[in-house]
């Protein structure tokens, strides 16, 4: 648990953060958001004392952070930043191993941990462990940055716009991977962003700030439902209904779908999705084409489906871009798990 008590930061006569109190529960993701200059990054950096607070107190799991030496405090807190900041002269392995080394871990333990993390972030250890940062793509570098923050298995993670510098598609993928990781790891995370969609998608709670003051601290649902004031309402934007869909997952609103076996195409059941003997999605049948053999259109499942844990907002956007009224829903291996219709997606809003 991270507990900020009346924390303030002054530079001369200007106040960057003013009497901020905030409690981040263990295992939760708290997103700090606000316009630039609102004090969100300053708040984040006060937690690991890259910036020393001028006033107030910060407790981490009940312990006053000022009771530790700054570098000791930081070794127990994972830290990832927008520009990644990988050390260009060190390999991917060495970059990830920095904190474990600082903590004096034994070599075999470091080796095992780094390999585990590379697997976790989906980089082939054989190929990437000895690569230098300049050989990585933007997305890969961000993943390594996250792995580096996770290296010593800290309870607390501080993320300063870690997905800010990549293209939207990669960002979406990284966000989903991060949510998947968090489901397993249950870290206490403070996450700074200026992107309200990212905040709604990732957070358990959002702290929205303006001019160094906390405007509202609530779950995304509460905030969308009841913005505390005009500033919060404006900041969230007009499409609050649509944004809310980001909090609902396909698995909660989809309906079952049997799927047509490849060999049974001409049977023409109610379903239009075709699967193979393993249940993996292979394509769809066009109901308007009468000749069965011409109706089948084969596709890679990745191109036409959404996952169970995709949020409805993204599913809706997928539906629109594909021109489907009904989307197939698959698991990570491409096995058809159900389908999502437009009406169901629309009704998700009402479920809240």
């Amino acid at each position: 648990m991270i507990d900020l008590k009346n924390v303030g930061k002054k530079y001369g006569t200007t106040t960057a953060v003013n009497d901020l109190s905030l409690e981040v529960k263990t295992g939760e993701i708290c997103v700090l958001i606000g316009p630039s200059g609102c004090g969100k990054t300053t708040t984040l950096k006060m937690i690991n004392r890259l910036i020393e607070p001028s006033s107030g107190q910060i407790l981490i799991d009940g312990r006053d952070s000022s009771s530790l030496k700054p570098f000791e405090l930081r070794r127990g807190i994972g830290y990832a930043i927008q520009s990644v900041g990988l050390f260009p002269h060190l390999t991917v392995f060495e970059n990830i191993a920095v904190v474990p080394k600082l903590l004096g871990w034994q070599k075999p333990k470091i080796q095992a941990r780094v390999m585990e993390l590379l697997e976790l972030i989906g980089l082939d250890p054989n190929r990437y462990a000895d690569a230098y940062p300049k050989a990585l793509s933007g997305g890969q570098a961000q993943r390594v940055g996250v792995a580096r923050a996770l290296a010593a298995d800290p309870k607390v993670l501080l993320f300063d716009e870690p997905f800010g510098a990549v293209d939207p598609l990669t960002r979406e993928r990284l966000q989903n991977e991060f949510l998947g990781l968090q489901q397993r790891l249950k870290k206490t995370v403070v996450f700074v962003t200026h992107d309200i969609d990212e905040a709604i998608k990732l957070s358990d709670r959002i702290a929205i700030m303006k001019d160094g003051k906390l405007e509202q601290y609530a779950t995304p649902e509460q905030m969308l439902e009841q913005p505390a004031n005009a500033f919060v309402r404006d900041f969230i934007g007009a499409d609050r209904g649509l944004k809310r869909l980001a909090r609902v997952f396909v698995r909660d609103v989809m309906r079952p779908s049997a799927g047509v076996k490849l060999e049974d195409q001409n049977l023409r059941t109610s379903s239009v999705f075709v699967v193979d003997s393993g249940g993996v999605l292979r394509g769809w049948l066009d109901p308007k084409v009468s000749a069965a053999q011409d109706a089948f259109s084969a596709h890679q499942w990745q191109d036409i489906s959404v996952f169970e844990n995709t949020n409805v907002r993204e599913a809706l956007s997928r539906m629109i871009s594909l021109g489907f009224q009904v989307l197939p829903v698959v698991n990570g291996a491409g096995v058809l798990k159900g389908e999502l219709s437009l009406e169901q997606a629309m009704s998700a809003k009402g479920n809240l």
């Binding site: 830290y79 900041g85 050390f87």
Partner: protein, 381 residues
Amino acid sequence: MTNPNRIALLGCLLAVSSLVWLPFLELKANRLVAGSGRRLLELGAAGWWLVGLLLLAGSSAFLIPRFRAPALAILGNLVFIVGIVLIGLDASKLLGSSTLARVSLAPAAWLMLVSSSFLIFAALNDLKNIWLKRLTSSVGILVFLVILLTGGLSSLSVIREYQTRLDTFWLEVGRHLGLAIWALFTSSLFGLPLGFWAARSKRFEGFILGFSGLLQTIPSLALLALLITPFSALVRAFPILESFGIRGIGFAPAITALTVYGLLPIARGVLNGLKAVPETALEAGRGMGMTSVQLFLSVEFPLALGLILNGIRTSAVQLVGLSTLSSLIGAGGLGVFIFGGLGSAANDLVLLGAIPVLVLAVLTDAGFRTLEQASIPKGLR
């Protein structure tokens, strides 16, 4: 037909025409008077060998690359070696038994040597095998050194100067190197921390750069003269210093003056190196819990090392050159020959000092460049 190798062809044409038209060696009645030139073919029929070799090399430039490279490698080295041998033989023939006369290289000899290096460069471009390359680029130099050391060139004026100053030449070379090395050491001793300090404090940065820039503008001669008084006073106050060789003139003030000039490139190298370390790497390091010492040793220093060494190299090469000034305050060095030669308008004596300084500077530069290359972290190459 493949295109002829233009470099090789150009070199040969240049050399042949200059050997025919321009003087090969210059004969002076004595060290000071103006001399008269002699063309290669006036000096004996052996000169035709050189012309023949050059023509052969020129025509081999038209061969296909597979045959051209070895042909140029062999002919280039042959031209060089035969040229050096002819210089040695013709010089001693010209000189006869005269003790006063001097023989030195004239334009055609220089152009012939340049042309042989053109041929060798052309061959090096085409050769693939690394050992053949090394052999091609070193065999001429080795033969040259053998001829030089066995006295084959002892009729040349510079070698004459060397022989009359045999007892002091190597002493002065040693002093010169000692001065440069010590000055580099003290320059680093002060320059490295100053650069570090400047990188840490914005206010100090301006002061350091301004101050050491100002020091560089002090005329060297004035600086040397200025240093006599404080050093003499120091030695009078602490006579023990004299047993360490510190005196008002000589080594100590010379090193001090050289340090003043060697400081800036080193401090600037450190400053530039540390400033070039990406801010994000520093923030990441700090955020991960590195102490400032750990951050410096494992992030800043390795990332800045290339530029730091670059600064040290600049300083080292400058110091090799500037150490000539030490002879103006009684510290010796190769400047003794250079300034002595300038004073009595004896160009050969000037060369006796200047050529070793040049060689030392080139070697220093090459050595530090190798070090620099080796020290750049793999991830940055």
